[in-house]
Amino acid sequence: MIATAWRVVGVGFSLLVVLAAALLYGVDPQQTSSAGAMIGEDFWFAYEFRTDGLTVLMLAVVGVVSTCVQVYSIGYVRERIASYTAIVTLFTAAMVTVVISDNLFLLLIGWEVMGACSYLLIGHYWERRDARAGAMKAFLMTRLADIPFLFGIFVLGVGYHTFRISDLGSGPMEPHTLTAGTLLLLVGVVGKSAQVPLQTWLPDAMPGPSPVSALIHAATMVAAGVFLIARLYDLFVEAHTTLTVLAVVACVTMLFAASCAMAAVEVKRVLAWSTVSQLAIMFAGLSLGTHDGRHAALFHLMTHAAFKGLLFLCAGVLLHQVGSAAFVVLRRYTRRGALRKRMPVTFVTMTIGLAALAGVPGFAGFFSKDSVVEAAWETARDGSTVGWIVLVSVCVTASMTAFYCVRLWLWIFFRTPALAGAVGAFEDDDPMADLEEPDARKLHEGSWLMLAPMILLTVGAAGLGYTDGVHLNWAIALITTVLAILGALPAYSLWHRGADPRPALLEHEYGVDPAYQRLFVVPVRWLAKLVVGGDRDVIGAYVRAAGRTGVLASAGFRKLQTGNVQTYLTAAVVGVVALAILAGVIGS
C-alpha cells in the first residue's frame, strides 16, 4: 500500500517536472526570489529561482528520464520499494533544485542531497559487500570533491559580493580570484562527474539497481557537473587557466575511460566507463570556451541522457532476466542463440542505443558528437592548441567508442562464427561453462512496464539528433564515420576469430585503484589508527589519571573518616583553638 502510494508520488512528480518543462518552453527567462535573510552584514541569502533555456532543457531531460526510471522500477525493484521510490524521487527533486536555483547555496543544497541520495541508492542492495563498498566509495570521493566546491562558492560569492548566480560576473573581478574560484568549483565538478582523477567511484557504483544507474548516468548526478559549468559559463570563459585545466582533464578522461571500457567484461561496467568517457566529451566541448562548444556540449548531454538511460535500462533487463550482466554468463545463453530470440525488444532497443553511442550516422549520438567535433575544429582552425588537443582526443575517442560498442553488441548477442558451439574467448574464463547447461527456455522478455520506457527512450536515441536542426559539416561527418568504422572493424575481426585480447593494464584499469589504495587509503587508515591510539593512550591517559587521582585522594581522605566521634570532636576543638589563635594574631 505504502509502496503503491510512493510509486504514484514518484511517477507523478516526474511527470510534473516534464509538465513544468513543457510549460516553460519558449517563455522568457524569469527570476523569482522568496523570503530571505542576511548572512553576516554583507550578504543577502534568499530562495532565488530562475528559469531560462538551460533550465528548460535540463528539466525536460531530468523529467523524462526520471519518469522512465520510475515506471521501469515498478517492474524491476522487488524489495524495499517504498524507501527506494522515495529516495529516487528525492534524487530527482534535488536535481531539479540544482537546475532551477539562482543561488549558489541553494544549488549546493541540491548538490549535496544528490550525493546523499546516490549513496543510499547505490547501497540499495546493502546485503552485498560490493554494494556497500561502492556506495561508501562514491560518497567519500564526491564528498572529498565537495569541500573545494564549497570554498569555490565562498571565493566567488565574496569576490562578487553576492551569491546570486544571475549577478555573478557583473562587476570587476580580480583575475586570480576568478581563476581560484572556478578551479575550486571545477574540483567539485570533477568529483561529481567522475572525471580523472576522481573517476573510480562511478564504475564501482554498478552494484546499485540498474534504473538507478540509468538515472545517475543519464540525468541527475553526473550531469549536474556539466550543468554547473554551463550555468556559470560566463565566469569559466573569463578564466582561461580553468578552461585549459578542464580541457586537459576532459581529454585524459575520455581516452582513459574509453580504453577501460574496451577491456571491461561486464555490460554495466562497460557502460559506466563509457559514461565517464562521454561526459569528458561534453566537458571538452565546454572547455573550448565558445558559444558553439557550450551548445554542442548541452546537445550531447541531451542525446547522451536518452541513449545512456536506454542502455542502462536494457542492461537492467538482462540482469533481471538472466541474473547477471557479466559477459561470461550472457555468453552461455548466446551460444545457443537464446538472447536474441527470447528477448527481441531488448535486443532491438539495445542495438539502437549502442548505435547512438557509437555514432552511427543518423542516430542521436552521431549528430551531437559531430557538433562537438565541429566546435573543436572551429576553435582549432583559429590556432588554438586546446582546440587541437580536444579535436584529436574526441576523434580518437569516437573510434574507441565504436570499438567497445561493437564488441559489446557482438559478444553478448551473437554466436561466434569461428567457434560456433565451441569454447570461445569468454568461455575460457568460465569453469562452469560445460558443466552447467542454462535452461534457455526460462528466458523471456521483461514486463511491459519495463519495456515501455525503453521504447520511449529508443525513440529519443534515434530521433533526438534531428531536434537541433540538421546542419552537418559533411567533411567532419565523413571523417568521424570513417573513424568509427576503423574502430568497429578490429572489434568485428576479433570477435570473428573468437578472440578477445585484454591487455592486463587495461583490464586492471591502469592500476588506479590499487595505487589509490596504497597512496591514500592505507595512510589514512594508518592515520586513523594513530588517532585512535592517541585518543586512547594520550588523551585517555589524562582522563584515566584524573579518575585515578580522585580515587587515590578519596582513599586517603577516607582514612580521616574513622567513625570515632572523639576524633571528630578533637579536630573541631583544635580548629577552634587554631581560629582563636589566628584571630588573636590578626587582631593584635
Binding site: G563, V565, Q566, L569, V573
Partner: protein, 102 residues
C-alpha cells in the same frame, strides 16, 4: 573578691572537662565531663552576675536554666548510651564506629 578568681576557676574546670570529653573511653564518663563543662559555664554566669549586679538577677536565672538544660541533656544522653549498650553490648566510644567509612 577579685572577679578573676571565679573566672580562672571556670577556665580550669572547663578545660578539665574538655580533656575528659576528648580522652575518656567510657561514654558515661564522657557525659560526666560534659557536666563539668556546664558547671564551669554556670560559675561564669554567677560570677558575672555578682559583678554586674543589674538587679534583674540575669546571671543567676540563666544559671538555673542551664542546670535544667543539663538535666534534660543528661537524660537524653543516657538514653542514647543505653540504646547503644543494648545494640552493641558496650559503651566504648572508641569501639562505637558505625560511622566509619569502610
Amino acid at each position: 573578691m577579685p572577679l578573676i578568681l571565679p573566672l580562672l576557676l571556670a577556665v580550669v574546670l572547663f578545660c578539665i572537662g574538655v580533656y575528659g570529653v576528648l580522652a575518656r573511653r567510657n561514654l558515661i564518663t564522657l557525659l560526666m565531663s560534659f557536666e563539668l563543662m556546664l558547671n564551669a559555664v554556670n560559675l561564669n554566669l554567677v560570677a558575672f552576675d555578682a559583678w554586674h549586679a543589674d538587679g534583674l538577677a540575669t546571671g543567676q536565672t540563666l544559671a538555673v536554666f542551664v542546670i535544667t538544660l543539663a538535666a534534660a541533656e543528661i537524660g537524653l544522653g543516657l538514653a542514647i548510651v543505653l540504646l547503644l549498650f543494648r545494640g552493641h553490648g558496650h559503651v566504648d566510644a572508641d569501639a562505637a564506629r558505625d560511622l566509619v567509612e569502610s
